[in-house]
């Protein structure tokens, strides 16, 4: 591994804080390498999650158009995606699509896959948010003379948004957890790096996997606590 045992000189923003003849311990080297690989997980999440939201909005929008065949197609897509594994979709995009001359590099295909996969889940979130608005609200807004687009914009959307915040945040956690799977098509994320390091440092597998687990906990635990807060905050009815 590059850098093991090199002299370590830290030049931070505050200037030279610490330098010395201290050899890097294997542990700090593991942490540094894995954390560097963890950036891939972040970049995947940051790229895929907004796309997921947009794609899901498009799906939900298509489904709300009163055109039966379209609704059936979108419904079948959502259900089919939701009942088959992310790993399979990833392999479809990474190994299957090149046969139709659609080629992405590993990172892009991971983003595309996660958008297609989690978009289906997020579309369900939107749908259930809209459908959980009580009928009486719709009737009341009709009585106030709101109709069509203006009712959607002023009544349905704000309410549905509030309802959909906690499950959306849950979905964000799922996207982040899902980034671990991309290791299996050789995107060099933290899990991939971990399995590679496993071959070199066979005896250190507990440390390597502890660092990987801690990485996911350090990011995921605050997110899941945030979801709990949001759940309490965004109680609508």
């Amino acid at each position: 591994m590059p850098g093991v045992g090199k002299r370590f000189v830290y030049r931070g923003r505050i200037g030279k804080v610490w330098s010395g003849d201290m050899e890097d311990s294997l542990f700090t080297e593991f942490v540094r390498t894995l954390a560097a690989a963890g950036r891939i997980n972040f970049s995947l999440t940051l790229a895929a999650f907004p796309l997921t939201l947009v794609f899901a909005a498009a799906l939900a929008g298509l489904r709300s158009i009163p055109l039966k065949p379209l609704q059936i197609v979108v419904g079948v897509y959502i259900d089919a995606i939701r009942s088959t594994p992310l790993l399979l979709h990833l392999f479809f995009v990474f190994f299957g699509l090149p046969l139709w001359n659609i080629r992405f590099d590993a990172w892009t295909s991971a983003v595309v896959t996660m958008t297609l996969h989690f978009g289906a889940y997020q579309a369900e979130v939107y749908r259930s948010a809209v459908s959980s608005i009580p009928v009486s609200v719709r009737e009341a807004s009709t009585a106030l003379g709101l109709r069509g687009i203006s009712r959607f914009r002023r009544v349905t959307l704000p309410l549905a948004f509030r309802i959909s915040v906690p499950p959306t945040s849950n979905n964000l956690i799922d996207v982040f957890r899902g980034t671990s799977v991309v290791a299996l098509v050789a995107v060099q994320d933290i899990v991939f790096k971990g399995t590679i390091m496993l071959q070199t440092y066979k005896g250190d597998s507990p440390i390597i996997f502890m660092i990987i687990a801690l990485f996911f906990i350090a990011v995921g635990y605050p997110m899941s606590m945030l979801t709990k807060v949001l759940e309490r905050r965004f109680v609508v009815v």
Partner: protein
Amino acid sequence: MMALLAISFKDIDRWWSYAPTLWEGLQITLKVSICAMALGLAIGICVAILSQSKNRVIGALVHVYVQIGRVVPELVQVFIWYYVLPDYGVVLTPFMAGVVAIGVAFGPFVAEVFRAGIESVPRSQWEVASVFGYSRARTWYRVVLPQATRNVFPVLSGYVISIFKATSLLSFISLREVFAVARNEAALNFRYFELFTIVMLIYLALAIPTSVGLKQFSSRYFRW
């Protein structure tokens, strides 16, 4: 596009030739899924019951297990059971590691679902049960858990499908389940699209009857 849709008898013969190995893989997938479901359900129910305990240590432990288990990806947990435990002298077969990993990974989700279900059973049920002279264990078993199960059954059946899906990860610890078999076949003849489509249809063929069946079951069994 039409060229892609054109199917010849040769294709059908080839698809048929996949059947024996895929069937073997499917059996392993089913076995792993069912064992993992049983384990996950057992862990989930126990943890949900423990979460109602007034003991703060138990409460903290449950919180740690549930919150950590929910954020560490299944794949990492699978690798931990398969690659890390041998360092401590515990060598699991891929099948065992898969069952334990998936079961433990889904325990927290099941526990959260059951906790919500248990909390949805009114306190008065406990009081009525004690009036009838039920012991605590009997109250759990005969009064609270059946009602909790009924309340959470739809959510729970969603996790059954998730466990089917999660078993696909076990192809990476050399368990020869259906996805691993398909990958092997595809590596031989490069017909990735075809094989992955077949596997996708197999997963759908597992998931759709399961969810329909569970819905039927709950409408029959939970009529009270």
